[in-house]
C-alpha cells in the first residue's frame, strides 16, 4: 500500500545526521514541515536525489545534507555533475556559505544543498558538532585522542579523527554513550551557536517559503 509521497523532503547520509538535524529543528523551530530520510550512504543519497527528482510526481522541495569529506570542492563538483545529468545546470561553481538553494521551475522541484560542516570546509557532521561544543572541552578531547594514538590504544582511520574527538568529549557528558542526536537535545551540544543558526535559517528558507519560479 503506497503511503502519500513526501512533498518536502530532506535527504541525509545516515542515522546520526538524521537525528542531529531533527534535534536541532525541534530545538529551534519545531513542527512537521518536512520529512527527513536516512539514505544509508553518500552514494545512495545521490541515487535517491536522482530518483526523487525524475519521478513522475516529484516532491515540491528536495534538500540534501551531505559530508564534504576530504575534499569539499570535489564533493561539490560531483554534485554539480549529478544534477547536470538530470538537467539542472544552475548549480554555481561554489557552494553558498549559508547553504545553497536552487529555485524551482514549472517542471522541477526546488533543491537545497548543505555541505557539512559549513559549506566551505572539508569535514563531516562530526566537525559541525565539534564546532558547537565549548572550545576548551573539544581542545582537551582532541589532545586525549592524540595521546591515545601515540600510546597505541587507538585503531580508527585517520579521516575519522573528528569522530573520535567528538565522541570522546560526549562520553564525559551526561549521560555517557548518548548518540549525537540526543546530545543536542540534552544541551551537551550548544545549538545557539551561529553555525547552527545559519543551518536553521537555511532549512527554514528552503522549506518554508512558497514556491517561486526562477527569476
Amino acid at each position: 500500500m503506497k503511503k502519500n509521497p513526501s512533498t518536502k523532503l530532506l535527504l541525509t547520509e545516515g542515522k546520526n545526521d538524521q537525528h542531529v538535524i531533527l534535534a536541532i529543528w525541534n530545538a529551534h523551530v519545531g513542527g512537521h514541515l518536512f520529512d527527513i530520510k536516512d539514505c544509508g550512504s553518500d552514494q545512495k543519497l545521490l541515487n535517491d536525489l536522482e530518483a526523487y527528482f525524475l519521478a513522475s510526481t516529484p516532491p515540491e522541495v528536495i534538500g540534501i545534507v551531505i559530508d564534504a569529506d576530504d575534499d569539499h570542492q570535489a564533493r561539490w563538483q560531483s554534485l554539480r555533475d549529478r544534477l547536470k545529468n538530470v538537467g539542472v545546470q544552475t548549480l554555481s561553481e561554489k557552494a553558498d556559505k549559508g547553504g545553497t538553494i536552487i529555485l524551482s521551475t514549472p517542471s522541477t522541484p526546488r533543491i537545497g544543498v548543505w555541505i557539512m560542516p559549513d559549506n566551505i570546509s572539508d569535514g563531516m557532521l562530526e566537525h559541525f558538532c565539534s564546532r558547537i561544543t565549548p572550545k576548551e572541552g573539544i581542545a582537551f578531547a582532541d589532545s586525549c585522542v592524540r595521546e591515545a594514538v601515540k600510546g597505541n590504544h587507538a585503531s580508527f582511520k585517520s579521516n575519522h579523527h573528528q569522530k573520535a574527538v567528538i565522541h570522546t568529549y560526549l562520553s564525559w557528558q551526561n549521560e555517557p554513550g548518548l548518540p549525537l542526536g540526543l546530545s543536542i537535545k540534552t544541551r551537551n551540544l550548544k545549538s545557539e551557536h551561529p553555525l547552527v543558526q545559519s543551518f536553521v535559517s537555511w532549512l527554514e528558507k528552503l522549506f518554508n517559503t512558497p514556491n517561486q519560479s526562477t527569476e
Binding site: 503506497k2 518536512f34 527527513i36 541515487n47 535517491d48 519521478a55 513522475s56 517542471s107
Partner: protein, 389 residues
C-alpha cells in the same frame, strides 16, 4: 514532530533456477536499438534513445503508450494497407470516406475530424533516429494526366489545389509511402502492398483483451509444427502446476454453430477442461507465450501486460519473457499501468543486465516527452517510492 524515514529494502524471495530453459546466449543485435517518431497521432516529435530486448512503457491514460506500439507495427509493416486498416478498425476510426487520404488521416498529428485537410502535411516519419530515412507517409497531389508525377501536398497548398481544380486540371490527392529508397504512391497502386516488396519481419500483437480464440488456435497450430510447446506448458504451470497439455477442440455452442476453444488436460483428471474455466490469468499467460513463440526473430507487442495477472506471478512471467526473448531472438514492447508489474519487471531486469529498457511518456507544454530509466534508477525509484509511472 518531523517524520523520520528509514532506508527501505525489499526482501527477495529465493529464485528457483529454471532448468527447462537452455543456456544459449544470444549475440544477435536487436531490431530496433532506438526509435524516432514524427507527426504520428499525438506525437509531434519523440525519440527514445535506447531500446533493448525487453522494453516496458508507462505513462498516464491516453498519453500514447498504445500509439507507440502502433508506430512500431507501422514501421515494421512500412505502412502496409493491411496494418493501417487493422489499426484504424481497432480504434473504430472507420468511416464512409472512399478516398484513402481521408480514411488514413487520423494517423497524422494534428488531425481534426471535422477539417481533415488540416493534417500535418510534412508527413509521418518513423525511423531509428532523427537522421535515418526510415519509413514515411505523406499526403501528395497527383496529376492524373501524368501518372508518374506527384508532389508533396506542402509544396502546393490547398487553396492552390482547389484553384487548379477549378481551372480544370485533373489533380487528385493521394498518399506516398517512402521506405528504403522506394516510393510508393497509394493512389496508383492501391492493390499492391509494400509488404510484398520487402521481407517482412514477424510481428505479433497481444491487445489489452488478448487474442481471439481463432487467432490463438492458428498460432498454436503453427507452433505444433516446430516443436516448441513444452515451453508453453512450462509457462502455464507457473500458474497451475497440474497442467499437462493444451489443445484446441471444436465445441458445439448450439444447434447451428460450433467454436474452436482451448482445452487443458490436468494431472489426475481424465476429462479436459476449458482453459477459460481456470481463470483469466491463465488465458493471459497462454496468449502472451503463444505470441512470443510465434514472434521468433521478430517483434512482440503486448498492451497492458498485467491484465488478469496477480502480482505474485508477474515476476515469474517476466523472467520467462526475458529468457525466451533472448532464446528466440524476439524484441518485446509492453505497456503497463500497474506498479506491481513495474516492480516485477525491475526485479528481473536488475538480474539481466542490458536486456531491458524502461521509459515513461508524459505530456508537458503540449508535447509528449519521454523519460528513460536505467535499471539502477528504476530499482532505486521503486525503493524510494518515487512514482515511476
Amino acid at each position: 514532530m518531523l517524520q523520520l524515514m528509514e532506508p527501505c529494502g525489499r526482501i527477495r524471495k529465493p529464485k528457483i533456477p529454471d532448468s527447462n530453459i537452455g543456456n544459449t546466449l544470444n549475440k544477435e543485435p536487436i531490431l530496433l536499438p532506438s526509435f524516432h517518431i514524427k507527426n504520428f497521432r499525438a506525437f509531434d516529435t519523440l525519440t527514445v534513445k535506447r531500446l533493448s530486448r525487453v522494453n516496458l512503457i508507462v505513462g498516464k491514460n491516453n498519453v500514447g503508450k498504445s500509439a507507440f506500439l502502433d508506430a512500431i507495427a507501422l514501421y515494421n509493416a512500412k505502412f502496409s494497407k493491411k496494418e493501417v486498416e487493422k489499426q484504424l478498425i481497432r480504434k473504430q476510426e472507420v468511416n464512409a470516406f472512399s478516398d484513402t487520404l481521408r480514411a488514413w488521416s487520423p494517423l497524422f498529428h494534428g488531425y481534426n475530424p471535422v477539417d481533415f485537410m488540416g493534417v500535418e502535411t510534412s508527413g509521418i516519419k518513423l525511423s531509428l533516429n532523427h537522421d535515418d530515412q526510415g519509413v514515411s507517409l505523406k499526403a501528395c497531389v497527383t496529376d492524373n494526366s501524368n501518372s508518374k508525377s506527384f508532389m508533396d501536398l506542402k509544396k502546393m497548398n490547398l487553396d492552390d489545389f482547389n484553384q487548379q481544380l477549378a481551372k480544370g486540371k485533373n489533380l487528385s490527392l493521394g498518399l506516398v509511402i517512402t521506405a528504403d529508397n522506394y516510393f510508393f504512391n497509394l493512389l496508383q497502386s492501391y492493390s499492391i502492398s509494400l509488404g510484398s516488396v520487402f521481407d517482412s519481419i514477424p510481428i505479433v500483437y497481444v491487445s489489452t483483451h488478448g487474442l481471439t480464440d481463432d487467432m490463438a488456435s492458428r498460432l498454436l497450430d503453427r507452433l505444433n509444427l516446430t516443436k516448441l510447446p513444452p515451453q508453453l506448458i512450462h509457462s502455464l504451470r507457473l500458474l497451475d502446476p497440474r497442467i499437462e497439455q493444451i489443445a484446441f477442440a471444436d465445441v458445439e455452442m448450439n444447434d447451428q454453430a460450433s467454436q474452436r476453444i482451448p482445452f487443458i488436460k490436468l494431472k489426475n483428471i481424465n476429462e479436459p477442461i476449458p482453459l477459460k474455466s481456470l481463470g483469466d490469468g491463465l488465458t493471459r499467460v497462454f496468449h502472451i507465450m503463444l505470441a512470443m513463440m510465434n514472434a521468433k526473430d521478430g517483434i512482440l507487442l503486448i498492451d497492458e501486460f498485467e491484465n488478469g495477472l496477480h502480482w505474485s506471478v508477474q515476476e515469474e512471467v517476466w523472467e520467462k519473457i526475458f529468457v525466451l526473448a533472448e532464446k528466440l531472438n524476439v524484441q518485446v514492447f509492453a505497456t503497463t499501468h500497474s506498479c506491481d508489474c513495474v516492480q516485477a519487471f525491475s526485479e528481473v531486469w536488475n538480474t539481466q543486465a542490458d536486456q531491458g529498457a524502461y521509459f515513461r511518456l508524459f505530456q508537458r507544454d503540449d508535447h509528449i516527452q519521454v523519460q528513460e530509466y536505467d535499471a539502477r534508477l528504476l530499482a532505486n525509484s521503486i525503493t524510494c517510492d518515487a512514482e515511476t509511472r
